[in-house]
């Protein structure tokens, strides 16, 4: 009995690893692309926050950062193909819920894209108070999605 379980498990794991392997190129690229993109967004957003926290933000350095965030945010939806969750076998914090509650995920992603666009507009207008408000909105969308769809390791 025990033996047949382990045999089944072995067969399953082989299949699973083959599936991961077979799925590799497109899935791997998507995971890598979104991770690189999130890192860039996080870095740019941190720099904007550092500027705001200094009390007198340098708008010339903020503008390209906000533009970059908006551009990268708009591309994010295509980096979450089915199968790019934990089952891909790569290091990812993307929870399976992203595809289970996909409508909720897509909604939050849309909120982020909208907020990123608003941040870009605020930076372009050069108004520090407006930038600060747009920053809070965008930060809120990061948090609400992370709380629900990003795994704490």
């Amino acid at each position: 009995m025990k033996r047949s379980y382990s045999a089944a498990f072995l067969a399953f794991s082989m299949l699973a690893s083959y599936a991961a392997y077979a799925a590799a190129p497109a899935i791997t690229n998507a995971i890598k692309a979104r991770q690189a993109s999130y890192k860039e967004i996080g870095g740019a957003f941190k720099s904007i926050n550092d500027e705001l926290k200094s009390g007198a933000p340098d708008m010339n350095s903020v503008k390209p950062l906000a533009r970059d965030i908006a551009a990268r945010a708009a591309l994010l939806p295509k980096y979450f193909p089915k199968g790019s969750g934990p089952e891909a076998g790569l290091k990812t914090r993307a929870k399976p819920e992203i595809w289970k509650d996909n409508a909720a995920f897509v909604k939050l992603q849309g909120d982020m894209i909208t907020a990123a666009r608003a941040l870009d507009a605020a930076a372009a207008s050069g108004n520090a108070a407006g930038l600060s408000a747009a920053r809070n909105t965008l930060g809120g969308t990061c948090k609400s999605c992370h709380d629900r769809f990003r795994a704490e390791l």
């Binding site: 870095g43 930060g139 990061c142």
Partner: protein, 230 residues
């Protein structure tokens, strides 16, 4: 002076000065506050807790060189021989004479705790949260990924601090139950039961501690207000 009184009760020996006791007992709620405010994402309060702990640590380091005998590192930090002798000859013996202050094992645990807390506060200074919104006061000096690494270590070191705290409590229970020696009482009252000859302990005046503390607190405030961004 040093002998037991008429009723036969052993004399009391003053071992902990007020500044050392205050340091200990303010650290406890501050650690709780730091944990709770991190859990609840009240980062403004979390930073305040961190600055307070930083102030306490710097004060304690100075007090460890300039303070009363039992607070001084030179008094309670011994080499491996002292440590080995204590563990072999004293630690597990109920009748063994108590240490006037930190015992050799406790002394090292004090050092470890101070080092861990110092590392923890410094990591917090440079930490960035995953949303890029909240950060330590000096995180603006490092890039996002470095700030994230600091934050991950900040979380890890917290667990190490928890483990050492648990060990601290277990050790106190061990002394209470096995050695029948209550270590908590003296940390509150400053004095402990003592039989036999009393060691000579020097106590630094409390006003000196107050002056040092105020200077350190002012320095911390300057450091954060002048060079920090949070």
């Amino acid at each position: 002076m040093a002998e037991a009184d008429v009723s036969g009760a052993p004399a009391r020996l003053r071992i902990w000065d007020l500044p050392t006791r205050l340091f200990h007992w303010t650290l406890v709620p501050l650690l709780g506050l730091a944990w709770w405010t991190a859990e609840e994402r009240m980062l403004d309060w979390h930073r305040l807790a961190g600055y307070s702990i930083f102030t306490l640590l710097v004060f304690r380091l100075i007090w460890g060189v300039a303070g009363s005998s039992t607070a001084r590192f030179s008094h309670f930090v011994g080499g491996p021989v002292t440590l080995f002798r204590y563990v072999r000859g004293h630690m597990f013996h109920r009748g063994a004479a108590p240490a006037p202050g930190h015992n050799p094992v406790g002394g090292w645990s004090v050092l470890a705790m101070i080092a861990l807390l110092a590392a923890q506060v410094c990591l917090g200074f440079f930490s960035v949260d995953i949303d890029g919104m909240e950060s330590g006061p000096f995180a603006y000096l490092v890039d996002f990924e470095t700030g994230r690494v600091a934050a991950e270590w900040h979380e890890f070191v917290f667990n190490v601090i928890l483990a050492l705290t648990a060990l601290h409590v277990v050790a106190i229970l061990f002394y209470l139950i096995h050695r029948r020696d209550n270590l908590v009482g003296p940390m509150i009252s400053g004095t402990r039961r003592w039989t036999g000859e009393q060691p000579v302990l020097r106590f630094a005046p409390a006003w000196m501690a107050l002056v040092i503390f105020l200077l350190v607190a002012g320095g911390t405030w300057l450091l954060i207000a002048q060079f920090g961004r949070a």
